[in-house]
Symmetry: C2
């Protein structure tokens, strides 16, 4: 089970390898939110999202013999790229299992980061069977995207940095809004804040209609999403909170927040204009909640995690189209 000692150990392994991303701000965003808004820009992390932290944490913790046989992950998104780069930099083989209809650019990027991409047909093939067979044959270690203590510990290093950076800004009491899919990032941050910044409280932010974590927190038990497609914030749509992440979230997090796809696009546009960073829709929901749910937040300041920036140009152009020329 992940605890603060595991997060601090992960931070030691990540030192010099992951970026300490900046905490950004703009008086224009403060004016919209009606309070100070501090944005932890994890889109600037290696591979464009916080996922590199958890991947590095997991890969670096393997014993060298096991690592040399390689790792495997199921993902067509940010976790895939994080695992691919973390493995490559350790000189370890990585196999990423992806649907054959994944965007070409994502497949190419993952290969360019040094991974072997194994494609499967979603209609006719069983992903887990393919992965299991490869793992047994080659002795690969599976790196789960969120329900894995070492991955949660890696994501928690974001929270250690937030605790230090918020203190530098004089902020000791605030909500820390975190884009939330399976809950690995939110759980890791919540544990780090509990230990190092008890006046900061983690709160998950999700897309409306896919707010399984908010509903689970309210119910005190895991609740599923009714659907798994239909949000532009696809990177953070998961069936339900994890078996490992949920108890952490339930113990430490404040109530969840949810925003619409339109609000996520608006937050992307404002991050472009005011912070000069690129966010993907799922990486912008925490900023959107900070800006557009002011009544649901208390205090003079709010911190939000901008968790990723791997967005298709056409989707980004949709966000930009909100500005009049």
């Amino acid at each position: 089970m992940t605890d603060i000692a595991m997060i601090e150990a992960a931070a030691a392994r990540l030192a010099g390898h992951a970026r300490r991303t900046p905490l950004l701000s703009s008086p224009f965003l403060d004016a919209i939110a009606g309070r100070r808004v501090l944005v932890k820009a994890e889109c600037l992390q290696h591979t464009g999202s916080f996922k590199f932290r958890g991947a590095w944490s997991a890969v670096s913790a393997l014993d060298p013999g096991r690592r040399a046989r390689g790792v495997i992950a199921y993902s067509s998104g940010n976790h895939a790229q994080g695992v691919a780069l973390a493995a490559a930099r350790h000189g370890a083989p990585a196999v990423i299992v992806m649907p054959a209809d994944a965007p070409r650019l994502k497949i190419e990027n993952t290969r360019a980061l040094g991974a072997e991409v194994v494609l499967y047909d979603r209609a006719t093939e069983d992903r887990d069977a393919i992965g299991l067979s490869l793992s047994e044959e080659r002795g690969l270690t599976l790196i789960r995207p969120f329900d894995e203590p070492l991955v949660i510990a890696g994501q928690g290093t974001t929270g250690l940095e937030i605790a230090a950076q918020a203190a530098e800004e004089g902020v000791t009491q605030a909500d820390v809004l975190t884009c939330c899919g399976g809950g690995g990032l939110a759980a890791g941050i919540a544990l780090a804040l509990e230990a190092h910044a008890p006046g900061l409280r983690a709160r998950p932010a999700e897309p409306e209609g896919f707010d399984d974590t908010a509903r689970s927190l309210a119910a005190g038990a895991i609740r599923r999403n009714a659907a798994l497609t239909g949000s532009i914030c696809d990177a953070i749509v998961t069936p339900e909170p994890g078996q490992i992440t949920f108890p952490i979230l339930a113990r430490l997090c404040g109530p969840g927040l949810a925003v619409s796809d339109e609000e996520a696009l608006e937050a992307m546009a404002l991050a472009f204009l005011r912070l000069k960073i690129v966010l993907e829709p799922g990486g912008a929901v925490a900023l959107a909640a900070a800006l557009f749910r002011p009544e649901a937040i208390a205090g003079d300041a709010v911190i939000c995690v901008a968790s990723g920036g791997n967005v298709d140009p056409s989707v980004f152009a949709r966000a930009l189209a909100r500005f009049p020329d």
Copy 2:
């Protein structure tokens, strides 16, 4: 005359007020350039460009009585926003003189940062006469955009950070490509590197056809641009190097580099895709030179300054359109 002591004094005044911007990288950019590419992301500076450093340096150095009367600047761009915010945070009035046909958003931004914007008609009014009259009437101090020792010292703090960050990356021998208009940033960086990283050499990067600094360096004397309009990189088009900046550049800089508008747009697109930062065309020319002029650069690594990100959405969309969907 700006020297390293002035730059270090400026760094002390900027501490806690300007951001220490990150040095970013991507294996994908390294592959294009054929060497390591390290990008100093000054687009993440307050007001979206390095100009905030020089403005803060100049405003903070004024004696309090003079500062309380206020400052004035002529600019419709990055210098205007830098001076406006630096003055506002010192509680000092700022007057920004802008052409009446400047983009509405730039006028509104400058006002929102607390400055009084005085508009003039380019066809019928004399900007300098308006500024001089206001300055005399109110006792305002003029903050020049580049040919001013305190401004050069502020921009030089970028170079102090590059020296430290490059050493952390193990890079001690490299060209440091700097987007160059009047030369304030390039001169400040060159002085900082001379003192703190003698193996790093500043080199100006400019738009093709507006490479007054490159031609001046080659000739050993100031040369003018034939035209002052016609580049998408308008933020760094100036008539000629400054009287104060040029001798510094001539003593310390390597040969200049020039890139096309198309190459600047391509570099913006790659910065979006690989670094998740927003660059304006004039802020992307150094990255473009690093990526597309490999034969003009020596060594295993190149550092480039991404100097600003204040770009109209429609121009950014033009850069994004280079990606096939």
